[in-house]
C-alpha cells in the first residue's frame, strides 16, 4: 500500500512537471488539499518546484523497517538467474550475491528464505529437485562468504510459481531463478 502511494506521488510529481512544461513554466498553484487551484485565488499559494515535489514524497512515505529492508534488497538485487537445467553461480550471479552478503552483514538480525524456480520445460518432480539445487547453490555461496547457514532457509517451487507468464525464451530465462526474501 505504501509502495502504491509512493508510485502515485511520483506519478503526480511527473504529471505536475509535465504540466509545468506545457504551461511554459508558469507556476502551478496547489491549494491546501493539493488540488490544482488555478481558479481559486483565495487559497494559500505554494510554488511547486522540483524540490517541493521531492519534499512531498519524503514527507508522505512512512516505510516500515521491513519495507525499507525489502526495498533495499531489491536495490541490491534479490534474484539471480540460471541457464537451462543448470545451477552454476555465474560471474554475474556472484556479483549480485556478494551484494546480498554485504546486505546480510549490515543487517545481522535478519534471516532470509531463498526460493528456487525453474522454467516449465521439465517434469514437476525433477523441477522440484532442480529448484532446490539452485536455491541451495545460492545459499552455499552466501554461506561460503561467511554468513551463518542458520540464517538461510531454502524452498523450492520447481515450475509451480513462475515469476512471469509466457512460453518463450525470455519468460523461461526469467523463471530460472533463485529469489531472496527477508523472513518476517
Amino acid at each position: 500500500m505504501v509502495r502504491l502511494i509512493k508510485y502515485f506521488l511520483i506519478f503526480m510529481g511527473f504529471s505536475i512537471l509535465i504540466s509545468c512544461a506545457e504551461k511554459n513554466k508558469d507556476n502551478l498553484l496547489l491549494d491546501a488539499e493539493g488540488g490544482n487551484s488555478e481558479n481559486n485565488e483565495q487559497s494559500a499559494e505554494i510554488e511547486v518546484t522540483d524540490n517541493e515535489v521531492q519534499a512531498i514524497e519524503m514527507e508522505e512515505i512512512e516505510l516500515t523497517i521491513e519495507e525499507k529492508l525489502a526495498s533495499e534488497l531489491i536495490d541490491v538485487g534479490d534474484r539471480v538467474f540460471f541457464e537451462y537445467d543448470e545451477s552454476t553461480i555465474s560471474a554475474e550471479n556472484s556479483e549480485t550475491l556478494n551484494k546480498q552478503y554485504q546486505f546480510l552483514l549490515k543487517n545481522p538480525n535478519i534471516s532470509i528464505t531463498i526460493t528456487g524456480h525453474c522454467d516449465e520445460r521439465g517434469t514437476r518432480e525433477y523441477n522440484l529437485a532442480l529448484g532446490e539445487r539452485r536455491a541451495s547453490a545460492v545459499k552455499n555461496y552466501i554461506v561460503s562468504l561467511g554468513i551463518e547457514p542458520s540464517r538461510i532457509t531454502v524452498i523450492s517451487y520447481g515450475k509451480e510459481k513462475p515469476t512471469v507468464e509466457g512460453h518463450n525464451d525470455w519468460a523461461w530465462a526469467q523463471n530460472r531463478a533463485a529469489i531472496t526474501y527477508i523472513n518476517n
Binding site: 516449465e120 517434469t123 529437485a129 532446490e132 541451495s136 524452498i155 523450492s156
Partner: protein
C-alpha cells in the same frame, strides 16, 4: 455347464468406497458354457492397434413395476454400461431404434437372427428386479453369431448404488470380451487447477473414472501436487506446501479417505516429495532434497523407519515400485542427462535402462509388470512413452507442448496422463487424457476445471 462364483466384499473394502453411500453386494457371476465349443471364442485383441470397433447392441433392460424408479434405471444402467464400453474405443453402440426385439422379450434368449440382421456381434440384455429395499440387476452377454450366452451376472444393491453396479457389470463384460482386466469400477484422484499461471490454485480432487461423483479434497489454500493412491485405495499420498509460511518444509502428506484426516509423513532434514506407496502398502518411497542433492528413501509406514537408497550429489527422483515390490525404477541425472534406472528395493544393483536422445522422467511401472511408462522431453516437445523394464522396445504413444505424469489403470493396458496445450489467447489448457498402450483411442477426461497429475486407483474389488 454353469460355474458359480460367489464373491463377498469384506467390510473394509466397503467402508472406504465413495463417501456418501454404503453398499452391500451379493455378487454372483455365472460363466457360460462356451468352453465346450471348438470355435475360437469371440474376443477382441486390444493389442491389435487400430482394431475396428466391434458393433454391439445394448438393449434397455426390463424392470419390475414395484420399483420406485424416478431415474429410469432401465435406461440409465444400460446407458452407463454403453458409455464405459464405448469410451474404451473398442466397441460401437448400434442404434437402439433398429432393435427388433423389445426389452421384455429379452427375458428369454434372444432371436439371434433378428440381431444378425442389424450386424450386432454382441447383445447385452438385462433385467432389474425388486428385492425388498434393494434391486437385483441381472445382465446377459450374448454371442449373436455363436448363438450362445457368454456371461450372466446378477448384482444386488441399494437403488442409489446403481452407478457402481453398472461399472462392475461393465468390467465383467470388458473382461469377458477382451481377456484384459476391466478398469471401470475405479476412481481418479488429480490436481484441479484454476487461476493464472503465476498464482495457480491447485487442489486435490477425486472422481469416478467416468468423471461422475466429482469432489474436492482440499480447499486450495496450500499448493498440492502429485497425489497417488495406496494399494487398498483408502489413502492418498501427495506433496504440499502446507504451512511453509509458518516454517514447515514442503513435504509429503497422507490423506485418509475414510476419516478425511491429513497427516504429514514426517519432518525431515530437507524437502520430501515424489511419494509412492509400495505394492503391499506398508512402505512409501520418495525423494528427499537437501543441500542441492536429491536422493531416494524408503519409509516403513508402520515403524516410521527411514532408509536411504541412493547416495550422491545427483538428482534421483520419481521412484516407482515394480508390482512384485522387488525393484524400483527412478530417474536420475547422474550421467549428465536425465535417464531411467532400475535398482533392487534395497538400493543395490543400479542399472540404467534408457539410452535414447532426450530427457526421461517420471517412470511408472505397469501393474502387470511388462511396461514402464515415462515422460520424455526431446526437441522441444514432451512425450508419454513406454518401454519394457529391460529398456527394450521404447515407443512414444502421446505428445504435446507439455505432456507429463503417466498413471496406469488396473490391468496395465490403459493409461492416463496430463497435457498442457497453448491456446491462441496466450493461456494454457491443462487437461487429463486417457490412452491405451497401442497409442490409440486417446480421449480427454471431463473435469470441472483444468486438471493435472492424475492417479488412477486400483480396482475397488480385488
Amino acid at each position: 455347464m454353469i460355474y458359480f462364483t460367489r464373491l463377498k466384499l469384506n467390510k473394509n473394502t466397503i467402508k472406504y468406497f465413495i463417501f456418501n453411500f454404503i453398499i452391500v453386494f451379493l455378487f454372483t457371476i455365472f460363466s457360460s458354457n462356451y468352453s465346450h465349443s471348438n470355435e475360437a471364442p469371440l474376443q477382441i485383441d486390444i493389442m491389435g492397434g487400430r482394431v475396428q470397433a466391434m458393433p454391439i447392441a445394448i438393449s434397455y433392460f426390463s424392470i419390475d413395476k414395484e420399483i420406485n424408479n424416478n431415474s429410469n434405471l432401465e435406461k440409465e444402467i444400460p446407458d452407463l454400461i454403453a458409455k464405459n464400453l464405448i469410451n474404451s474405443g473398442l466397441f460401437k453402440l448400434l442404434d437402439r431404434n433398429a432393435y427388433m426385439q423389445k426389452p421384455a422379450q429379452l427375458i428369454n434368449p434372444p432371436k439371434f437372427r433378428d440381431w444378425r440382421i442389424i450386424d450386432a456381434q454382441i447383445l447385452i440384455s438385462g433385467s432389474i428386479k425388486n428385492e425388498e429395499n434393494k434391486i437385483k440387476v441381472s445382465v446377459q452377454l450374448w454371442d449373436i453369431y455363436g448363438e450362445k450366452r457368454m456371461l450372466g451376472i446378477s448384482l444386488s444393491s441399494k437403488i442409489k448404488s446403481w452407478r457402481r453396479v453398472s461399472h462392475i457389470i461393465s468390467d465383467k463384460i470388458y473382461e469377458r470380451l477382451t481377456g484384459e482386466e476391466g478398469y471401470f469400477d475405479t476412481r481418479i484422484v488429480y490436481v484441479s487447477e484454476s487461476g493464472n499461471q503465476k498464482n495457480r490454485i491447485k487442489r486435490l480432487a477425486i472422481m469416478d473414472q467416468d468423471g461422475d461423483n466429482h469432489k474436492y479434497l482440499t480447499n486450495g489454500k496450500s499448493l498440492v501436487l502429485t497425489p497417488r493412491f495406496s494399494p487398498n485405495q483408502q489413502k492418498i499420498t501427495f506433496f504440499s506446501y502446507n504451512g511453509v509460511n509458518s516454517g514447515l518444509k514442503p513435504s509429503v502428506y497422507i490423506y485418509d479417505l475414510n476419516t478425511g484426516n491429513i497427516e504429514i509423513l514426517g519432518e525431515f532434514e530437507g524437502m520430501s516429495f515424489a511419494p509412492r506407496f509400495s505394492p503391499n502398502g506398508n512402505n512409501l518411497i520418495m525423494s528427499l532434497a537437501k543441500n542441492g542433492a536429491t536422493n531416494i528413501y524408503i519409509m516403513n509406514l508402520i515403524n516410521k523407519n527411514l532408509i536411504q537408497l541412493t547416495k550422491g550429489r545427483s538428482i534421483d527422483t520419481s521412484p516407482s515400485f515394480s508390482p512384485d515390490g522387488k525393484y524400483i525404477v527412478f530417474n536420475s541425472d547422474r550421467s549428465g542427462g536425465q535417464h531411467l534406472y532400475i535398482m533392487n528395493r534395497d538400493g543395490k544393483n543400479v542399472k540404467r535402462i534408457s539410452f535414447g536422445r532426450g530427457s526421461y522422467a517420471t517412470p511408472v511401472w505397469s501393474p502387470r509388470g511388462d511396461y514402464i511408462a515415462f515422460t520424455k522431453f526431446t526437441r522441444g516437445r514432451f512425450f508419454i512413452g513406454l518401454m519394457h523394464p529391460n529398456g527394450d522396445s521404447e515407443r512414444l504413444i502421446a505428445e504435446g507442448y507439455l505432456t507429463e505424469g503417466p498413471t496406469w489403470a488396473p490391468g496395465g493396458r490403459v493409461l492416463s496422463f496430463f497435457r498442457q496445450t497453448p491456446l491462441e489467447d496466450g493461456n494454457m489448457k491443462t487437461k487429463l487424457y486417457v490412452i491405451d498402450i497401442t497409442g490409440n483411442r486417446e480421449r480427454e477426461l471431463n473435469t470441472p476445471e483444468d486438471g493435472s497429475d492424475p492417479a488412477w486407483s486400483p480396482k475397488n474389488i480385488k
